[in-house]
């Protein structure tokens, strides 16, 4: 069973790379949805004894992370008619390199963290890597929608981290799913407040001009 979870975690990292490397917003969202589905399968792969709690967690994650939020996001794209991330702060090639470094660093850090042993040694490094990639996307991309995806990725990292500590703090993961509410709020904001009419207004670089 751990082998399956290892494979899932590996795919989670690949989804991170996918997010970092693509320009098309819809593709980015697909990557996030894919990662959500992987996360939904993770608890089931980690805890072979199927309990109501775990199945509920899995199904809940699947619905929220890989169906509801991506659908909303896709709709927001249509509303805002934004197709591509055009002017990232750091180029795509560079952010891919940065992502690779982040993964390497997470593996190096995870070995030194004073954490109790969890079932699979991959959980913590993958969680850290996903967290950092989420941060990279959040900070280096200029479109508000991409940043929402970045936030989603970051939160997926927290979710995986929660899974690694699930035995000690049982409801940490469930709390993590609750964080998704924020994502919903972001998307609502974009859709409802019509930041969508113009292309430029979705660029959060403009927010600095709100000073006075």
């Amino acid at each position: 069973m751990t082998r399956l979870s290892d494979l899932l975690l590996l795919l989670v990292v690949l989804a991170d790379f996918w997010v970092l490397g693509t320009t098309r917003l819809s593709s980015t969202i697909r990557a996030a949805a894919f990662q959500g589905a992987l996360l939904a399968a993770l608890p089931i792969a980690l805890h072979p004894g199927l309990s109501i709690h775990i199945i509920g967690l899995g199904v809940g994650t699947l619905v929220v992370k890989s169906i509801v939020l991506p659908t909303f996001l896709q709709r927001a794209i249509r509303e805002a008619s934004v197709r591509r991330e055009v002017e990232p702060l750091i180029g795509f090639t560079a952010s891919l390199c940065l992502g690779a470094v982040a993964v390497a660093l997470s593996f190096a850090i995870a070995q030194r963290l004073p954490l109790p042993e969890s079932q699979t040694a991959l959980l913590v490094p993958v969680a850290l890597a996903t967290l950092i990639v989420g941060l990279i996307v959040l900070t280096t991309r200029s479109k508000a929608l991409t940043q929402v995806v970045g936030y989603l990725i970051l939160e997926n990292g927290i979710y995986v981290f929660g899974l690694s500590q699930a035995e000690r703090v049982p409801f940490l993961v469930d709390l993590g799913v609750l964080l998704d509410v924020f994502v919903g709020v972001f998307i609502m904001g974009i859709v409802v407040f019509h930041i969508n009419r113009e292309f430029d207004s979705l660029s959060s670089a403009q927010l600095t001009e709100l000073k006075d």
Binding site: L10, G21, T93, L96, A100, V103, A104, F107, A121
Partner: protein, 303 residues
């Protein structure tokens, strides 16, 4: 030493010109056309070998020697791969460096030949070619590093032979990643979509084709043949990594290789049918992704 290494090598060298044909045929079928015969390249090679050559007055000896060096480098590189799943024709510790070096030597020669014509077309193509190559090289070395870490062997004979077969189950995820990375490199190094389009007819968008615009006759035949063999070598790398053939009988392994090569060529054709080319400035990103996949595999193994 048994005969299988030589026989498989001969078979691969003979079958190589069929691979681009298979790719083109697969693409044609998927896009609703019949396409050229699968064995077209053999006919082309035979015809070119019989034709004379036209040389530009700008060119020097470099232009004439380059196709020879290119072909010799690719052929000697073929000697280093364990094509029958066991033993290469000759291998030694660290021969993976020689493999990469021989391919790079061929590229060096071809690029110089392109610059020798003094044409801006060729200049453009060579400039792009070295750009692609510079980003492909680290990814290739990372992929080979994965194999070194998995098998503990520093020669291609060991990395792709029997030690790989025994180590495969324990390191499957890393090897799959390395295989994927190598497949991406295959596309890049052999000028296939999404890096380059062998079927394009506009010089400004070409990479590989535009370098060899001025080659003709036997020279062009050598370049085309070397390209086909290079395709086969990268295909053999991918097949060997994904399907460890070390525990099969060498004859079976050799046959598996040929079947695998045909499959890969067909897959390349499918990709050409469904994907568009990348913009030139996105090519480094494609190759960095290939490197990142192999890098992830290395990290998993170093853990």
């Amino acid at each position: 030493m048994t005969a299988t290494p030589f026989v498989t090598l001969l078979a691969v060298l003979l079958a190589a010109p069929a691979l681009p044909g298979i790719a083109t045929r697969a693409k044609s079928l998927l896009t609703g056309r019949r396409g050229a015969p699968m064995l077209q390249l053999y006919a082309d090679l035979a015809k070119l070998a019989r034709k004379g050559a036209v040389y530009s007055r700008t060119t020097t000896l470099v232009f004439r020697v380059a196709p020879v060096i290119l072909t010799a480098g690719v052929l000697v590189a073929a000697f280093l791969l364990p094509l029958d799943g066991r033993t290469p024709i000759f291998g030694f510790t660290g021969d993976l460096v020689a493999f990469a070096g021989l391919l790079a030597l061929g590229r060096f020669a071809l690029v110089l030949a392109g610059l020798d014509t003094g044409s801006s077309f060729e200049g453009m193509g060579t400039s792009r070619e070295v750009t692609v190559a510079a980003f492909a090289e680290p990814a290739l070395l990372l992929s080979l590093t994965v194999l070194v870490l998995v098998t503990g062997s520093l020669s291609l004979g060991g990395m792709l032979g029997a030690p790989l077969a025994t180590a495969w189950p324990a390191a499957a995820p890393s090897l799959v990643l390395a295989g994927a990375s190598l497949f991406m490199l295959l596309l890049a190094e052999n000028a296939r979509v999404p890096i380059d389009d062998p079927a394009t007819h506009l010089e400004l968008t070409m990479i590989h084709e535009v370098i060899i615009l001025d080659h003709s006759g036997p020279d062009l035949a050598l370049v085309l043949y070397a390209g086909a063999v290079k395709f086969a070598l990268f295909g053999a790398l991918v097949v060997s990594v994904l399907v460890p053939r070390g525990r099969f009988d060498p004859w079976v392994a050799g046959t598996m290789l040929l079947a695998g090569l045909a499959l890969i060529a067909a897959l390349v054709g499918v990709i050409e049918a469904v994907m568009a080319r990348l913009r030139m400035d996105r090519i480094p990103q494609f190759l960095v992704t290939a490197g990142a996949l192999a890098g992830l595999a290395v990290i998993l193994l170093l853990r």
